[in-house]
Symmetry: C2
Subunit: 259 residues, 2 copies
């Protein structure tokens, strides 16, 4: 569990959650925001452990280290992922700083992002339909399930902590959708590069948007999504700009890696 | 997900939950009790799918059918288990008939029963320490993690639905502990029999209480636990006897299989 969660990573989801909660007026001394941020990172870590398994992507390296199943065995990898996932829900259910209604809403968001309408469905589509010729729309849908849905839960949990209005939550949902698409394009672009700390060329034989649109076309599409994400975010958070600054810094840094 | 959950099984945990809730005065037209019962069965089904995997018990048959990974592949088995587990928490989080506080308490019980202090730890100990010579106490502890802990969560969820007092919850916790020990002994005894619908002699090479105490000794110990379970249960539920009747019928039927 520690190897899968605490290895150096970008911590994008918990950072987004904390920054968005602050932008919506949360006091960060509220321990609850950190609990929610930890929960989403644990879910993400669990998903990475399982995605790397031999029966899935069969990855050897992750975050610069051997993947969890290579270091500890497949049985321990599966059990660690299950324990992380359960612990994520437990951390929210017992969080001292959240009202009961905030807890159940946050758990509803997070659990639905994992299951059949989220990560699980995205990974299934990627494994079972990825090798076929897919339309750009079909690829975008898989990418939404693989990435946008957990971003959406992340931002909804920030909104729940901040007692944000339904309208603000709707705007954050649009933001998450665009951000997820941009992020998945970035991931596919980076898959062609070295020095990422994880296996590269994992997408060989998979139909991706990069393959379909070329590197430049994919980068253009990425920047379109990013612009749209930025507009929705600006619309949602009037009070602060921390999330926007973070998002731009993240993408600029990552895009510099291959251009 | 359907294959792992809906294949014929004894449905012990959901039945226990529903009967105990009724014995504590719940109206069974309360949809919430059924939602909780479904959640615990989904968690149980997820744990069976994973226990059967090649890296764990490598089982071929379960509930009279090929195991999920044999029928659908290891990747789908893992994803189905994750989706079932997430859906279990989601079902509770969105249950229309529960107050927010009941939801977060039920999720806290269920998630802690799955993770490092529950099923995951029990399965880990069984896989990694099962082949060693263990003391009866060490075996009983593993059995508690593998079985009692989810029974405890099952009964605590019944108590939460019924707004039971802390004292009643404590008694139910003792009941669950004894019931789990009796149940694990039953499972080990049955492992030597045929016609169970799942792989038999799975325990070969594992240290079990049956091996240590002999069949008769194990059966005696089982009956001791059962008597003790019964006393705690009678103490907890004054209003009804449905749970007690069910427990006796279940054990009598199962014990008749090999004696």
């Amino acid at each position: 569990m520690r190897a899968g969660t605490l290895a150096p990573g970008k911590r994008i989801r918990p950072l987004l959650l904390v920054l968005a909660a602050r932008d919506m007026g949360c006091n960060l001394e509220q321990r609850a925001v950190l609990d929610l941020a930890c929960a989403v990172e644990m879910v993400h870590a669990a998903s990475l452990i399982l995605d790397d398994m031999p029966s899935m992507d069969n990855a050897q390296m992750r975050r610069g280290r051997p993947t969890v199943h290579r270091e500890f065995g497949e049985d321990v990898a599966i059990l660690a992922a299950i324990a992380l996932l359960s612990r994520a829900f437990e951390v929210i259910a017992i969080a001292p700083g959240l009202a009961a209604l905030q807890k159940s809403e946050a758990i509803a968001e997070l659990s639905s992002a994992v299951g059949l309408q989220g990560l699980v469905q995205g990974q299934f589509q990627d494994l079972h339909e990825g090798a076929q010729n897919r339309s750009p729309d079909a690829i975008a849908l898989t990418n939404e399930l693989k990435t946008s849905v957990l971003f959406r839960a992340t931002l909804q949990m920030a909104a729940i902590a901040a007692d944000a209005s339904p309208l603000m939550r709707q705007k954050l949902s649009y933001f998450a959708q665009e951000l997820g698409q941009a992020f998945q394009l970035l991931d596919d672009l980076i898959d062609g590069c070295k020095h990422t700390g994880k296996d590269v060329h994992q997408d060989k034989g998979k139909s991706t948007l990069v393959q379909m649109l070329g590197v430049e076309g994919a980068e253009r599409r990425l920047r379109d999504h990013l612009r749209s994400a930025d507009a929705h975010l600006a619309d949602a958070c009037h009070r602060g700009v921390a999330t926007r600054h973070y998002m731009h810094a993240l993408f600029n840094q990552q895009l510099a890696m291959f251009s």
